[in-house]
Every structure is written in structure tokens, then in C-alpha cells.
């Protein structure tokens, strides 16, 4: 039989906030991809504005973790969970920032929709959405099957981002007039690549919660 611990209500609160953070960031990712695909500047603005909510939640989660560390001295799976909550929170907050950075670069692309379509940025967006829906499931359920899926999908996205970047550079060499917009696209691609990198971090953090093994830097 398991005891109910006063501590458990704090852990429940933390788990709830981390899931909330993840679903908010998920919305940001979905919205910014939609805004990018449709050149929807109003939606891009909404993404930029929503970041404040995410930043506030980030601070709340940090404070709650500090409080649990200081007052409950967690050990074993509790300890691993709280360490991971801190890291996941940090990763999610960064993903949120990247969504904002992408949102800020949508306007300069407006007159170059043909180029954007040729580069298949939309496909990267769709893959990132699929990736993030697995991240959301992983953070909710701690099911390591999703961790594997996240890692695989993130690798694919990184690979494609590199291919697009290389195409972009070739285009830039031939058409000097697109250099400014191309620089923006390169940055956007880089941001998608980093979002997938942070998603891998989250998968590694959940593996650490479940198994106690540090899997990062292992290939």
C-alpha cells in the first residue's frame, strides 16, 4: 500500500504545469507553422504576444522546482523527475522563443512565396508538427516508445533542414537579389533544426526519469 505524501500534491502540481507548458508551446509551434505557410501576419503577431504567458509559466515551474528541492529533499524517482522537469521546462521555453523568432521573420518572406514553396518549407513545418505531437504525448504519458519516435523524427528533420540550407546557398550564388530573403530563410531553417534538437533533449530527459540512465551524448 502506498502512503499519500504531502509532497505528492506538490509533484502533481508540477506535473500539471509541465504538461500545460508543453501544450502551450505546442500551440505556438502549430500557429507559427500555419502563419508561415499562409503568410498570416496576424497569427504571427499572436504567436509573438503569447510568448509572455510561456515565459511566466517557465518562471513558475522553476520556482516550484526550487521549492520542492529546498523543502522536500527529493530522492530516487522523485529527484529524477524534478531534475527533468527543470530541464524540460527550459527546453520548452527555448522552443517557444524559437517559434517567436520564426514569427518575426514571416513578413520579409511575403513577396517570395514561390521560393518558399520550392524549398518545401511547408513539409518541414508538417514534420515539426508531427514531431511535437509526439513530444506532447511523451511528456504526458512517459511512454518511451514516443521517446524513440521523437528521436527518429528529429533526426529526419535535421537532415532535411541541412539539405534545404544547402539548396538555399546554391540559389544565393546564382541570384544575388534574393540574398536578404535567403538569409531569413536560412535562419528559419536553423530554428526548425534547433526545435527538433530541443525535442530530442526532452526525449532524453524522460528516458532519465523512467530508467535513471543518462542517454545524452550516446550514439
Amino acid at each position: 500500500m502506498e502512503n499519500y505524501r504531502i509532497f505528492d500534491s506538490e509533484l502533481d502540481k508540477l506535473a500539471h504545469k509541465v504538461k500545460l507548458m508543453c501544450s502551450q508551446v505546442n500551440h505556438q509551434v502549430i500557429d507559427v507553422i500555419q502563419a508561415l505557410n499562409t503568410s498570416d501576419l496576424a497569427l504571427a503577431k499572436k504567436v509573438i504576444a503569447n510568448d509572455e504567458y510561456i515565459n511566466n509559466l517557465d518562471v513558475k515551474i522553476d520556482k516550484l522546482c526550487q521549492k520542492i528541492f529546498a523543502l522536500q529533499q527529493p530522492v530516487a524517482s522523485d529527484l529524477r523527475y524534478i531534475i527533468s522537469a527543470l530541464k524540460i521546462n527550459n527546453d520548452l521555453e527555448r522552443i517557444g522563443d524559437h517559434a517567436v523568432s520564426i514569427a518575426k521573420r514571416i513578413e520579409p518572406l511575403q513577396d517570395y512565396q514561390k521560393l518558399v514553396q520550392e524549398l518545401k518549407l511547408e513539409m518541414i513545418g508538417e514534420k515539426t508538427k508531427a514531431l511535437f505531437s509526439d513530444v506532447l504525448e511523451l511528456v504526458k504519458e512517459h511512454n518511451l516508445e514516443f521517446a524513440e519516435r521523437v528521436t527518429t523524427k528529429a533526426e529526419e528533420i535535421k537532415e532535411e533542414c541541412r539539405e534545404i540550407a544547402s539548396k538555399m546557398l546554391t540559389e544565393m550564388m546564382h541570384q544575388s537579389e534574393i540574398v536578404v530573403v535567403a538569409a531569413n530563410i536560412l535562419i528559419i531553417i536553423n530554428l526548425f533544426e534547433r526545435i527538433s534538437g530541443y525535442s530530442t533533449n526532452i526525449a532524453e530527459s524522460i528516458s532519465f526519469v523512467v530508467n535513471g540512465e543518462i542517454v545524452k551524448h550516446k550514439k
Binding site: M1, P74, A76, G212
Partner: protein
């Protein structure tokens, strides 16, 4: 290389018919701090006391299996229990200084072991008090009654008294559980220093204390040794669910 100072093999202990320790096999390394944790009645103190045969004093206690110290079974017939307890000293939960001066508390053991030279005794007293990190607090009042010391000082005096007869192993049964946080931290610091020269085995209910000071931790439950591993493993990723439930307070 780290040697095993103590090891037990398939050790059982019975109080009359009732089995209190079941099949305990453990290797305790030399010059390390090993902590025993577990809920009340799990057998950890019984096991600690069996390591210097303190249980001999209780009627109806029967021990099976091997309890080896330096590869000698301490329950062999030819073992001199007085010598064993000199080699394996013990510190208890409640400090128990003699109603004598500070000096006499320390000199008592060496004296009954035949040391009478005043200068030699003075040296032993000073070294023991220094090793127990209490010398600076008592050096100017060695003739005062030990009972006038604070609880934390009395406990360090008892540790000094244990060290004065030159043990190799020091068993501690919740040595800091009756002390305030500052005295507790002095005792903990002392334990960590002592492992340079002694093998320390400590029973504690304070899990954070076990985590802070021990190298290895053994978790006992219902007379069995459930898990024994490096302390950092026990407190970050224990392999048994019972250990996890106990250290996280989920035990019910």
C-alpha cells in the same frame, strides 16, 4: 584496492524461535562509511550489534552463518569477546559518558588495558579528543565532569572514548538522532574524517544523513537485506521497488 573488512555469509539471527535476520550476506569495505537504513524493527540495529557480539548479552539469541572480520569468524569458540569489542568499538544513540572527569572518561579504557604511564595516557587522551574533534572545546577543563558537557559534546566525547582503545571498526547506532542540527553536522563531519583511519558502520533513521556521509548504503526490511549498493545509486536510482518506496516515503 579496497579490502572487505567485514563480511557475512548466509547469516541468520533468531530471538528464541523468532527469526530476526534472514540470510544476510554482505561485504563491508575497509575505511569507508557504510550506512544501514530501514524502518523500525527491520533488523538493522540487531545486525549492527551482531558485528561486535553485543547480542550475546540477550537471552535466547542464536546466530547461524558466518560473521567474518578480517576473514576470521567472530562467533568461533576461541574468540576473545573483550578483544573483539576493543577492535570493534561502538557508539550509541544516547551519549553515555561515565560520571567522571572528561580526562577519566577517555583514560579509563586504556587504563584497564594496562596502560599506567601518566605521560602516555595524556597523549592518548589528547589524540583521542583531537580525533573526535572536541579537543579545542575541552582542553582547558579536562578535570571537569563529563556530565557538564552539552549533548553534542558528550557524544563526541563518547566517540573519543571509543577511539582511545584503538579500534579498527566503529559501529554507530543513530549517533546523532538526539542532537540539534549544528551538533549533528559536527558529528557527520567527524564521521567523514574518521573513515581515513577506521571502518565505520552507521545505523540511521535520517536518510539525508545516510546520503550525506556514507559511501555505501544497505536497506533492510523485515529482517532481510533488500538492497546494498553505492549510496549515490541507492538515492538516485535504486534497483528494488521496496527501496524506492522507503526512501521516497511511499512506504505504507
Amino acid at each position: 584496492m579496497i579490502l572487505d573488512k567485514i563480511h557475512t555469509e548466509k547469516m541468520f539471527l533468531y530471538y528464541s524461535e523468532k527469526v530476526a535476520l534472514k540470510d544476510i550476506s554482505i561485504k563491508i569495505p575497509e575505511k569507508r562509511v557504510t550506512a544501514f537504513i530501514g524502518p523500525s524493527g527491520c533488523g538493522k540495529s540487531t545486525f549492527l550489534r551482531s558485528l561486535n557480539r553485543m547480542n550475546d548479552l540477550i537471552d535466547g539469541v542464536k546466530i547461524e552463518g558466518k560473521v567474518m572480520i578480517d576473514n576470521i569468524n567472530i562467533y568461533d569458540k576461541n574468540i576473545d569477546v573483550v578483544n573483539l569489542r576493543k577492535k570493534v568499538g561502538m557508539v550509541f544513540q544516547k551519549s553515555n559518558p561515565f560520571a567522571k572527569s572528561i580526562y577519566e572518561n577517555i583514560a579509563y579504557g586504556p587504563k584497564i588495558n594496562g596502560i599506567n604511564d601518566k605521560k602516555q595516557l595524556e597523549e592518548i587522551v589528547e589524540t583521542a579528543l583531537k580525533n573526535a574533534a572536541i579537543w579545542d572545546e575541552v582542553k582547558d577543563r579536562l578535570g571537569d565532569s563529563a556530565l557538564g558537557l552539552s549533548g553534542g559534546q558528550q557524544q563526541r566525547l563518547c566517540i573519543a572514548r571509543t577511539l582511545a582503545v584503538n579500534p579498527e571498526i566503529v559501529l554507530m547506532d543513530e549517533p546523532a538522532s538526539a542532537l540539534d542540527p549544528l551538533s549533528t553536522s559536527k558529528i557527520e563531519e567527524l564521521i567523514v574524517q574518521l573513515k581515513e583511519h577506521y571502518t565505520i558502520v552507521i545505523v540511521t533513521h535520517n536518510m539525508q544523513q545516510a546520503a550525506r556521509i556514507s559511501d555505501n548504503t544497505a536497506f533492510f526490511y523485515l529482517g532481510e537485506l533488500i538492497e546494498y549498493d553505492k549510496t549515490k545509486t541507492i538515492f538516485t536510482n535504486p534497483s528494488k521497488k521496496q527501496t524506492e518506496d522507503y526512501i521516497t516515503g511511499r512506504f505504507g
